[in-house]
Symmetry: C2
Subunit: 201 residues, 2 copies
DNA sequence: AGTCATATCTTTATAGTGTCAAGATTGCAT
DNA sequence: ATGCAATCTTGACACTATAAAGATATGACT
């Protein structure tokens, strides 16, 4: 299908891209279906040919952003880093992603309506891709530290919660903190390591 | 001022209370100024006599909820608990609060427009009351463990981030996890303690 | 007691929102 | 070439926040 004056040609993807841009510019609150439609040069009801309602567009946008997010996390652990260093880089990448796009946090986790499957066993839902990266990196770290497998699940969620919490605080609307957020989560990561090392000396 | 048919009498507080109820029932997305006004039995423009816009009402609602939140945290550490036990109870209370009122999390941290002052030094803003409770409990714990004072700030933020992250994940719209969230943050709290204890044996 | 300013609430109006229904236009298969 | 189905437009409706103008009650001052 070619683009004409009447038929856009690739409206579905254009809506997703412009919607994401709009959120980056004006935040989640500044988003509206009509604004996105206008931005794409179509009428206000045109999106309904591709999405049954605004929530479905938001979900598609979230899927797209989640892919970028997952890619960013994957890149951060590519290469042969030591387990501790890999985990360090992963957490830093997680936080940096939302530091660069503050509007993505409330959008992805409180607005989009996407499903985040933590365990791999509820319904047939696939696991949340960013958490999957966490799992691979974490397991490698835990084995290298000789931790028992039984604690893997809880430890993984704890690590995830930590960086997720930093990202959450970091992107909270009215937060004021003069320090460096990156250091916050590394405090615990390193303190865990330091605890071992210090106690051995 | 008495209540008549025309003059409500205590509309400001009534709006705040009904607004909070509305958020608990329908979530942040279900909130609207007109719904709250109707709920209070006044016209849709009546709130403008007490708040300059909807954001100001939301801020007042958030202040009220934050007070309840702070009170809940304070109560959790009342009594003479050992430092580790106090911190344990505090984190549990933090998470339990948002577990009981899932809509409060996005509301307080991404919708209300209140200011969260972490350091005590930016502008003249007062520190965020819930974090103040964290500070007291954390300092007591760190001293009892012989940790150096220089790391207090980062350690506090790390602990806060951890429980905040659990609360954030816990209240994310589409999250699915079969386990117990309370155990997640205790994993790190106890693993920190266990690291010490295990290494000493 | 009477008057009046002020605070509070109502009414009305406007611009913006999501969504639906009916119609117009186009591309594609027959 | 014709008709079908997908896509887009137009117009409507109910809902939203907000502003302006008017109504009503309160409390203070004479």
């Amino acid at each position: 299908m070619k683009e004409t004056a009447y038929h856009h040609g690739d409206l579905r993807n254009t809506l997703i891209e412009n919607g994401i841009e709009l959120i980056n510019e004006d935040g989640v609150g500044g988003f509206s279906l009509r604004k996105v439609a206008a931005r794409c040069g179509v009428s206000h009801a045109a999106p309904y040919s591709h999405f049954k309602d605004v929530q479905e567009l938001l979900s598609a946008m979230a899927d797209h952003v989640t892919s970028q997010f997952t890619e960013s996390l994957r890149r951060s652990v590519e290469g042969d880093y030591a387990p501790q260093e890999a985990m360090n880089r992963l957490g830093t990448a997680y936080i940096a992603f939302f530091q660069q796009h503050p509007a993505y946090f409330p959008f992805l986790f409180f607005q989009s309506g996407i499903t985040i499957q933590v365990d791999g066993e509820i319904d047939g839902a696939p696991p949340y891709p960013p958490f999957a990266v966490f799992r691979e990196t974490g397991i490698r770290l835990f084995r290298s530290q000789g931790l028992p497998e039984e604690t893997d699940g809880k430890m993984l969620l704890a690590f995830w919660s930590l960086v997720h919490g930093v990202a959450s605080l970091l992107t909270s609307s009215g937060i004021r903190y003069s320090g460096d957020w990156q250091e916050v989560w590394q405090t615990i990561l390193h303190s865990g390591g330091d605890m071992h090392e210090n106690d051995r000396t």
